[in-house]
């Protein structure tokens, strides 16, 4: 059912990085819809069905892949706001970023991200992580977004 299946939201400003993620996911056999967004504001709007994405149809559970270095709103801020809002706090978030500063890592985990992955990504492990997370999410019932 389209409403129930997991949507992967990818917020990444670099087209190359985004393309790589999408290709790898596809190659690994993940067929879920991948929504590509280009900065943090779009990510927030999408998740909350506000702003640019105000009129989007509601969907099932979301999985966020966030880069940190994005224009307008960066990944950490998106993470914070997502986790601060009760309606969206349960959304799993994977940080995908070049920064490997341990303080940054610490901060993201404190804010509630599920995984922090540094680029360049070892795609096999990454895909595995996504699959597992997805399966986990399918099993656990998550209230549909925007419902």
């Amino acid at each position: 059912m389209p409403e129930q299946s997991l949507v992967i939201v990818l917020a990444e400003d670099d087209d190359g990085h985004a393309s790589l993620v999408q290709r790898n996911l596809k190659r690994a056999g993940i067929a879920n819809e991948i929504v590509r967004l280009e900065d943090g504001q779009q990510a927030l709007d999408y998740v909350r069905r506000e702003g640019e994405h105000a009129g989007r149809p509601p969907n099932g559970p979301l999985l966020l892949l966030l880069d940190i270095n994005m224009p307008r709103v960066d990944g950490v801020e998106v993470l914070r706001r997502i986790k601060a809002d009760e309606t969206t706090a349960k959304t799993p978030v994977i940080m995908l970023t070049t920064t490997d500063d341990p303080r940054e890592v610490q901060r993201c985990y404190e804010l509630g991200c599920s995984v922090y992955i540094t680029k360049p990504v070892e795609y096999e492990a990454f895909v595995e992580a996504v699959k597992r997370l997805g399966m986990f999410l399918q099993v656990v019932s998550i209230p549909p977004q925007g419902g």
């Binding site: 670099d14 190359g16 990085h17 790589l20 290709r23 190659r27 270095n69 070049t98 920064t99 490997d100 680029k119 360049p120 990504v121």
Partner: protein, 720 residues
């Protein structure tokens, strides 16, 4: 009474009066004695007349017509003789016994008393002698009185002495004598009266007389005894009091004697002490003279100091050779002048010399440095000390002045100050340069960090898409293999894929790998500079042990031996320190000589020479070593000596040096005779050994080097 008798009595009376003890006039006494002699003569003449039957006498001479038969009685004459002699001999004394006058007088008294008794009792034989005329009663009474008077004339001698005794004896004598004279007479007279009146007979009368006499005498005796007892009591008490007083006095006397003896001893001792003092004083004086002489020689001999004495007003009282040398004046031309002549004009106008003396007088001593003027007018910089000299009572008797020419020293001092200022300036400049360099370093590191970080992003794409290309090639190969194409087309397509594309991809990928590795290394290097350290005491032994343990598999694989000596604790960031030793030990393991068993040593070289705040350690291996001409490049980034032996970017030592420098230490390669490499590195010691927290927070290198400069200059005292 016979007129001669009357006359004789008159004479005797006059004589007695003249011979009283109070009468001192010799003339009257002689007259008195002559009168007495006349009386005796009259008596003697009459006696002689009686003896020879003559009727001679004074009365015959003077009153022949009216006399009739009246004559002086013979006993009267005798008594006149005795009395006259007694008067004449009134002053004759005897050594013992009765004085002659008293004896004669007593005879007269007894005799006349008897005559008187005869008249009282009617016994005429008592007053008549033979056939001759009797003594008249008034004569007898007068003789009694006269005798009494003669006895009383010299009361202090002989018999009268007892009567006049003021004590018990006199008291009892007087009472008893009176009684003895009166009572029996009265009792006898009473008896006779009674008997003649017929009242009672002879025996009764005797008994009565005896009884009355007895009783009266007994009563008198008792009365006298009582009085005597009283007197005696008083006397005894007085005696006792006297004895007591005497005893007291004796005691006081003994006391006084003792005190006197004591005082004598004390005085003797004091005297001796005084004598000793006098001797000492004399000796001291001698010593004083000698020492004064020595002192004078000493003062004279000192040439570097001007030693002068001033009088209380400031005039020069003494001079020495040093004063002559420094100030230029000779003794004879300077004595007596005021010491202000050494001062420059402005000081004289300012009254500085007087103020110096006042200060010296008030506080005992005053010091000054200033310009003084020599005899030739040349100024010199002087150090002057003026002492006030007082006598034992605190009166000012003068000043002593010590002057030293310190012109040279002042110049040297000024030079030192200037050099010091220059040095401080140079230090400041160096510190500024250091800070500058540190900033530049930090900027560089920030730059490296941000660049390498930014490079990561394109790197991701490069890696990713070169991978994609490989996938694409592989997909194309499958497509080619799946479809039936003409064989040469297939072969050509496969060639293109497998050879050209694959080779190109290979080179691209290896280049990307290299790029990634470089970027990683740069990031690690910049992190080494950027990361904030947490300084604390690090147990170095534990850290190195941990490193060795972590590398155990590699150590065993290479069959190397790692020995760790005793390492003292250091002050630094534990992770960074571990990184350093991990790197050094890792390098040692990487570059072992395959020809000999690897030996890696880590030890402590003691305190850094000259710097107690740091420890020096060494990491030695017997591996391939680093040739001397290349040792300078060892710490540079991306320098690899043996690239084929092991992986790595050649960043390790660069990072290690950065870490060591950030801890305020140093690292270098120590040249050794044996093959292999020995690294020496220093780390700071924990602060309690220096008494100063050299690194409680993350110090920058500049701050630490400034701190170290201060420490070296002496602010930090090693408490080891």
């Amino acid at each position: 009474m016979n007129p001669a008798t009357a006359l004789a009595f008159i004479l005797a009376g006059c004589s007695l009066g003249l011979l009283q003890e109070q009468n001192r006039s010799r003339r009257w006494r002689r007259v008195g004695r002559m009168a007495a002699g006349t009386v005796a003569f009259v008596g003697a003449l009459k006696l002689v007349g009686y003896g020879f039957g003559w009727r001679v006498g004074l009365d015959r001479l003077l009153f022949a017509q009216r006399l009739g038969d009246n004559e002086m009685a013979p006993n009267t004459a005798a008594y006149f003789l005795l009395t006259g002699l007694a008067l004449a001999l009134l002053d004759v004394r005897t050594r013992r016994g009765l004085p002659p006058s008293q004896g004669l007088t007593l005879l007269t008294a007894v005799g006349s008393f008897l005559s008187l008794l005869g008249y009282v009792y009617g016994a005429d034989s008592l007053y008549i002698v033979g056939p001759f005329i009797p003594m008249a009663v008034n004569t007898a009474m007068l003789f009694q009185l006269l005798s009494l008077g003669i006895l009383a004339a010299r009361p202090g001698r002989g018999a009268t002495r007892v009567i006049t005794d003021p004590g018990i004896g006199g008291l009892s004598a007087r009472r008893l004598l009176l009684a003895a004279l009166v009572v029996p007479v009265v009792c006898g007279w009473l008896r006779l009266l009674g008997e003649r009146g017929g009242l009672y007979g002879g025996e009764f009368g005797v008994a009565l007389m005896v009884a009355s006499t007895t009783m009266i005498f007994a009563a008198i005796a008792w009365w006298t005894g009582a009085a005597l007892a009283r007197v005696d009591d008083q006397r005894r008490q007085s005696v006792e009091a006297l004895q007591r007083t005497a005893a007291e006095i004796h005691g006081l006397y003994e006391n006084a004697e003792r005190q006197v003896a004591q005082r004598t001893v004390e005085l003797t001792e004091a005297n001796q002490a005084l004598q000793t003092q006098i001797d000492e004083h004399r000796r001291a004086q001698l010593d004083l003279r000698q020492s004064e002489e020595r002192f004078r020689l000493l003062v004279e001999s000192i040439e570097d100091y001007a030693l002068l004495m001033l009088d209380p007003e400031g005039h020069i009282a003494s001079w020495n050779s040093g004063a002559e040398r420094i100030k230029g004046y000779r003794e004879e031309e300077i004595l007596g002048r005021h010491f202000s002549c050494f001062y420059p004009r402005e000081d004289i106008e300012d009254a500085k010399p007087e103020r110096m003396l006042e200060a010296a007088a008030a506080e005992g001593r005053v010091e000054d440095e200033g310009w003084r003027i020599r005899r030739d007018g040349a100024p010199f910089w002087a150090s002057v000390v003026i002492h006030a000299i007082r006598d034992d009572e605190g009166r000012l008797i003068g000043f002593s002045k010590v002057t030293r020419d310190i012109t040279e020293r002042r110049r040297a001092g000024e030079q030192i100050d200037e050099l010091n200022a220059q040095l401080r300036q140079r230090l400041r400049e160096l510190a500024a340069i250091n800070r500058d360099l540190e900033h530049k370093n930090q900027e560089n590191e920030m730059f490296v960090y941000s660049v390498s970080h930014d490079l990561r992003s394109p790197l991701v794409n490069l890696q990713g898409f070169s991978n994609e290309l490989r996938e694409v090639c592989s997909d194309i190969r499958s497509v080619i293999a799946d479809h039936s194409l003409p064989e040469d087309v297939q072969r050509r397509a496969l060639d293109l894929i497998d050879k050209d594309a694959a080779e190109s991809l290979h080179f691209i990928q290896s280049a990307v790998t290299r790029l990634s590795s470089i970027i990683d290394a740069l990031l690690r290097l910049s992190r080494a500079g950027r990361i904030e350290y947490q300084f604390r005491e690090v147990d170095l032994s534990a850290v190195v042990a941990r490193v060795a343990d972590a590398m155990k598999s590699t150590i065993d694989e290479k069959e190397a031996v790692v020995s760790v000596g005793e390492l003292p604790p250091v002050w630094g960031d534990a992770t960074a320190v571990e990184q350093v030793f991990a790197n050094l030990i890792g390098n040692a393991l990487k570059y072992l000589d395959p020809g000999r068993p690897g030996q890696i040593e880590i030890g402590w070289r003691g305190e850094s020479s000259g710097d107690p705040a740091h420890h020096t350690f060494y990491v030695r291996d017997n591996g391939l070593g680093i040739p001397e001409h290349q040792q300078s490049k060892a710490f540079q980034a991306f320098q690899r000596l043996h690239p084929h032996m092991a992986g790595g970017e050649g960043m390790g030592l660069t990072i290690v040096r950065r870490i060591v420098e950030r801890h305020g230490g140093q690292i270098w390669i120590e040249p050794e005779e044996t093959p292999g490499t020995t690294f020496h590195l220093t780390f700071p010691a924990p602060p309690h050994q220096c008494g100063d927290a050299l690194g409680e927070r993350a110090y920058s290198n500049t701050e630490r080097s400034e701190e170290r400069a201060r420490a070296i200059s002496g602010d930090c005292v090693s408490g080891r």
